[in-house]
Symmetry: C2
Subunit: 334 residues, 2 copies
């Protein structure tokens, strides 16, 4: 399967391309209206051909999958155009910023029968997250009762373009980095749906960006019966060694798992996982020790029409919950 990388407004495009290339895809082309973004991309991926328009990519028969990292509010339009050109789509999260756009994508995906994948990287591209899923599946903590996610991020304000701070174009903090977490709340509890019990957003530290939200949280009643809590924020100090001290805590009836995804503040390790159950406390560093199956599975799903990487309904359901939680949120701090 061959890919083209289009609309490079978020650096995630690099991780998306690397992961699919490592899984066996070929890189055909790259497109962005901003030449500097294309030049930056070409430094990492010098073999890509530069397309002169998005239309050219969509007409290119060699392209099977279009990768998108557009300004968030433009992703739906770009994705639908790709689906309608017979391409599969792999889009950075969030896939879109409104329920109406989500419904348009859903309709286009059903009509065209192509795959629509979303890059929920904090799960599918993090070894310790994947390892946690394996341990849960092995029954090592009994039945999952609660999943908790703390997802702090560095703002790096001077690297962000203006659209990143306007609600219409970035969609809100739960839509954006919250959708990552919602996917994990569903996944680790074995759920396909959820009721939103509460959601909150606020702007506590960025009054100069009045439409920006720097904090969000929510509680879900997951369809498995478990409870899910997640918090997202943009307060991580610039000096912190990684982009954020992301944590995943899965509470089961017979034990729990804690994942310190990117930097364990006790040990300095990446992908640091703790398993506590009746057999004691077990610690492991997961980097390089698990297979990141999503990417090969997604290529195979595109090729064969299967649903092994993620079910299509599930991909949409995650965004639906995120968009609803965002629009219903209790607002404070503005």
């Amino acid at each position: 399967m061959n890919i083209s990388c289009c609309y490079l407004s978020h650096g995630h495009i690099n991780g998306m391309a690397e992961a699919l290339l490592s899984a066996g895809a070929g890189l055909v082309s790259v497109y962005d209206p901003d030449e500097r973004k294309v030049e930056k991309f070409m430094r990492k991926f010098p073999n890509a051909r530069v397309a002169s328009s998005y239309e050219e990519v969509l007409q290119d028969e060699k392209v099977d999958i279009v990768l998108l990292a557009s300004i968030y509010s433009k992703r739906a339009e770009h994705a639908i155009a790709a689906l309608e050109s017979g391409k599969h789509v792999f889009v950075d999260k969030p896939a879109c910023t409104t329920i109406e756009d989500l419904e348009r994508i859903r309709a286009a995906q059903r009509r065209e029968g192509r795959k629509f994948g979303v890059y929920y990287s904090e799960h599918i591209n993090v070894a310790s997250s994947i390892r946690a899923g394996e341990l849960v599946a092995e029954g090592r903590i009994g039945k999952v009762v609660e999943v908790t996610l703390l997802a702090p991020h560095k703002l790096r304000e001077n690297t962000r373009e203006d659209w990143f701070f306007r609600k219409e174009s970035y969609g809100g903090i739960i839509t954006d980095i919250g959708s990552h977490q919602i996917e994990q709340l569903l996944f680790f509890s074995g759920s396909s749906d959820a009721r939103i019990l509460t959601s909150t957003v606020g702007n506590f530290n960025n009054p100069h960006h009045p439409e920006f939200e720097d904090y969000g949280s929510l509680v879900l009643r997951l369809s498995s019966g478990a409870t899910g809590y997640m918090r997202v924020d943009w307060y991580t100090p610039e000096s912190f060694p990684v982009f954020g001290d992301g944590r995943l805590i899965i509470l089961g009836t017979e034990g729990y798992i804690e994942v310190r995804k990117y930097h364990d503040i006790s040990t300095g390790e990446r992908d640091s996982l703790y398993l506590v159950n009746g057999e004691g406390t077990h610690h492991e560093v997961c980097t390089g020790k698990v297979k990141k199956r999503f990417f090969a599975d997604f290529l195979s799903d595109c090729e064969n029409g299967t649903e092994i990487s993620m079910k299509q309904d599930y991909v949409f359901k995650v965004m639906e919950i995120a968009l609803r939680a965002e629009s219903e949120a209790d607002v404070e701090g503005k």
Copy 2:
């Protein structure tokens, strides 16, 4: 100030007595209708006189403060009788199990002008919790945006009496161990009140105790504007080195604090505190390094009519929020 320890249904009575004796109180007497409970208490506190009835304690002019660790649903009745006999009261959490009982205690406290204290031990008797409060007060993490508490506990089922599993007598998991956490959500955010955004309870692992709740969680919109999340559960494996891996995480606009109160699964330390801010990551073990001021302050409050240990309204507000969150909770897993 002299104390008497009455109704010894929870082992917290020992910690309550020890803390007040260390702060300068004298121990006058002990009372429980169950002789075995009195004998067990006397092994730790051999200088206590055994009272033959609760009435005898209440009539004893040498007793200034009555300490209570009754069956939870009996605490209100015992506390009100003590207040009406002119005694100050220091009761284990939860102070009571119904809103009606809380209102009766409130009325008695106001009428009699005595102190009514509650032993929120996970804050006032834990060095690392107290230290976290000092760091917040020093502004080390900026403005507090979220307080998160994870409070897992060992059930130790064979040590519990039947009343512990009956809703009428134990009051529910948010009423019980939740009230500890609610006090901390208020304290660490500098709040005096809160709106309940959601609360949940469930029985996921104890179907043989159908009225028992082994899981609870809630989200508060605190009066400071911050958000508070807490989770309580009874799933900690018996083999875990302490009663539970209690965590306190305080997120500020300029950093965060994580407290691993009783056992740091990375280092094995008690009272392990991490402070992360623009100056880096700082780790300290707090045992023995802070003053547990509450107890001397409470004795002084009783003696002088001050409100230094905790404001009386605040003590009641915590229980009010706990009881309302319990009664409104979304129920799953039964």
